[in-house]
Amino acid sequence: MINCVMMKEIFDICRFKALAWKYYRENMKTILIFLGVMVVVTFMVVCKFNPFRMEYTSLYTGSNYLDRYYGMFAKIFWGLLGFFLLFAASYSFADFMSGKKSFGALLLPASSFEKLLLAILNSTVVVFLLHVAVFYSVAHVACSYKYTGFKEADKIAVAESWSGFSYPVLTSGAEIVHPKVGNVFSVVDRFSESSAYTREVEDGTGVRKERTVYFTPFVVWNLLIMYWLYFVFVFMWGSITFRKRSALLTILVHGLFFLFLGWLVYRVGTVFWKIPREEAMLYGLYFYNTGELVPLSASWLLLLYIVPLTYVGIIWKKLKNKQV
């Protein structure tokens, strides 16, 4: 009974639903503006980097078209996701950092865990789902509008749009092809397939052998999710740490931190370990005593999840200790 009461102090589903509804209702205008920005930016980027632009079409022909424009859309999708996540995460605790709003945000009768959970869900799941919906809708509209395919450069003309972007115009005899966005998530399988590589290593008996390793889709998915969470939590940390210019300061602080970390690893690796630097790299640990074609072990991924989870812990602590 006591545990149940204590649990309700930390998380109560009814209270969480009320908190989420209050948040969305109060911030509806901001959310709609953000959605509008997502639509406009996605449309402009899709138009800017559409695969049928003059400069791209001269580089590849025939069946390569499909791969090229698939890869282009996948890059646009993941790049834009990062861009939007950066903004969403950087503003996730804006209410707690603003003078007037912070009283209401901190004293609203919900637990710190519920407030944190809502911020995390908004910055990860909600932004992601919005982006998927916006990207596929906008890219589909953009692609079915006026993009045309062509196999020879002399069959196309390039026109300037009102926004300053150039786009190809169909000329007589050219074939109309509407690009298809495709499944941007298949980047995982493609990355997994293309990640296989071979290198020569020495086994325990001193015999040098060739070993091939590759990332399984499971490993790639985990890496992707982990990197995604890490990216979001870093900017959420910035949001609860810096009152102003949180995105900029977060990038600066982490840039300096990683420079220092890189320098430290280099110094420690070369001075103390006394082994070739190449062998000291993390993936090097998985080449020994394996077969000819070996998927890269996923066990260390669990360890790497500690990094984003540590950030969540720090954010929660900062939120609990937040004062006005």
Binding site: E9, D12, C14, R15, A18, W21, K22, R25, E26, K29, S98, G99, K100, K101, F103, G104, L106, L107, L108, P109, A110, S111, S112, K320, N321, Q323, V324
Partner: protein, 280 residues
């Protein structure tokens, strides 16, 4: 006891605000919190609400540690800050959003209070004037029916009739199980409203006493020219001052006069009110 602070230390970076502060406030009272600018009134309120954490000492509010900000504690507390923020919604919609968080929220009371203050429930709050928004938030705070209602300069921005309505409303909601704390510079706004006074000065509580006790021990009256007083000032009606009530005279509490007397003769006032009501 509703609020108990024991040996509390608090400072902002280099400025010491409270050192070894003790304070006890009970339910069933409307407290007026007075003090000069920068004395620490707002800081004290924020410490009670869990918006600031003490460096040392204990705070217990309704049996909770405010800094833990547990939902059960927060649902029994409503804080109206000096600088307010309200979202761009109609008051009726905003009230519905807050209702699930306050178990004793009363919509009908809210409507009555809003009517009293002549503020529409269906007007978007972003279009309201500062005074109207303040009134709307006061109504909301009262309708939430929390055991502890804390207000920092609630009458700032209110017009004269609204100040009168404010006093009526507060008087009507003061109940035995509720504690209302009002911090203000404008002591006249608290006339006939509060029943206890807390004066903060120089990192400590100079006075924590009921108004009945004040008028029992002190008398506020026109003074003879050579009559000595704890504090006196010239007015159009003559010399108006506060003196020790040695003959059991009845008088009406003049809070401004009392406040000035406390600031001018803190030790005398402490001696007058003895150990039972005056805290360090």
């Amino acid at each position: 006891m509703m609020i108990r602070m024991n040996q509390l230390d608090f400072s902002y970076r280099k400025k010491n605000v409270f050192s070894g502060l003790n304070l006890t406030l009970s339910e069933g009272h409307v407290y007026g919190l007075l003090g000069k600018n920068g004395a620490g009134k707002s800081t004290l309120l924020k410490l009670m609400c869990g918006l600031l954490f003490p460096e040392r000492g204990e705070i217990n509010v309704m049996g909770y540690l405010p800094s833990a900000r547990k939902p059960a504690f927060l649902s029994e507390l409503f804080f109206i800050p000096e600088e307010i923020y309200l979202p761009d919604l109609k008051m009726s919609a905003y009230a519905e959003l807050l209702r699930p968080f306050y178990p004793r929220f009363d919509r009908q009371m809210l409507e009555e209070y809003m009517e009293e203050f002549e503020v529409s429930l269906d007007e978007r709050m972003s279009r309201m004037s500062y005074g109207q928004r303040k009134k709307a938030l006061i109504c909301l705070g009262l309708a939430c029916n929390t055991r502890l209602l804390v207000m920092d300069e609630p009458t700032n921005g209110l017009d004269i009739p609204s100040k009168s309505h404010f006093r009526c409303l507060i008087a009507s909601v003061a109940t035995k199980d509720r504690c209302i704390i009002i911090s203000t510079h404008q002591v006249r706004d608290l006339d006939n409203l509060i029943d206890a006074l807390v004066v903060v000065e120089e990192s400590r509580i100079l006075v924590n006493v009921t108004t009945d006790r004040i008028t029992e021990k002190l008398v506020f009256k026109n003074l003879e020219e050579d009559e000595s007083a704890l504090f006196a000032e010239e007015s159009v009606k003559g010399r108006w001052g506060v003196v020790v009530n040695e003959n059991g005279e009845d008088s009406k509490l003049d809070m401004e006069l009392f406040f000035n007397a406390v600031l001018q003769h803190p030790e005398k006032i402490r001696a007058i009110f003895g150990n039972d009501k005056v805290n360090d």
